[in-house]
Subunit: 139 residues, 2 copies
Amino acid sequence: MTDATAFADVLDAILFNADGLVPAIAQAEGGGEILMMAWMNRDSVIETLTTGRVCYWSRSRGGLWRKGETSGQVQRLKDFRVDCDGDTLLLIVEQDGVACHTGRRSCFYRAWRDGKLEIIQEVQTDPSELYGHHGHSHG
Amino acid sequence: MTDATAFADVLDAILFNADGLVPAIAQAEGGGEILMMAWMNRDSVIETLTTGRVCYWSRSRGGLWRKGETSGQVQRLKDFRVDCDGDTLLLIVEQDGVACHTGRRSCFYRAWRDGKLEIIQEVQTDPSELYGHHGHSHG
């Protein structure tokens, strides 16, 4: 059993929403690229701080989402930050390979340019290499 | 009247939640620091893309929140990005002064270090200089 009392200070500072969730931004250590945004619940916060590997809450699957468990796209936690009103988290991570299920480094690969949405980042890893025939476990 | 049809491409790509809102991360141009996370609705997306000045939706006030209107903490839009599943936005901005209502550059000034939440960023501007006696208009 994880000792939640060890994390009381941080858990008390987080304002989980009505669904018990808080948005968490993942930023790459060093370069500072924003990789993705996903959601965490209380258990995923505790697991992430305990193991040092980022664990989100998958809203689509309704379960803990250990990032990279299937795909190898593991995120190692380097810093865990809470914003001023406690309703958003910022995770500084070391990302193994790409973060996005499309095989791109970042999920934010579309930008509004000259009146249309353009793709500004190329696929780095074939998604079939990440998920095989199992489909992706995006949250 | 703003011509929403001009933004159909980007509006169609955004998955607004049941409240008609989408989270938007603000990242500083250049250095890449994450400044804050707030929410946008359809109107604030259109206004932001039209004016080039970031306008959020204030959930607490239930109205458009033209960042910096009262405080001078204006964010000039440099790039507007949409993530893979369209449920989060990333705004690359030029931030006038500080982003946080506490007078710190970033809202993410608390970090989990050695078993406790530590303040890792100092106040740069006295909040009373930002809001005077009016209190802050945080969303």
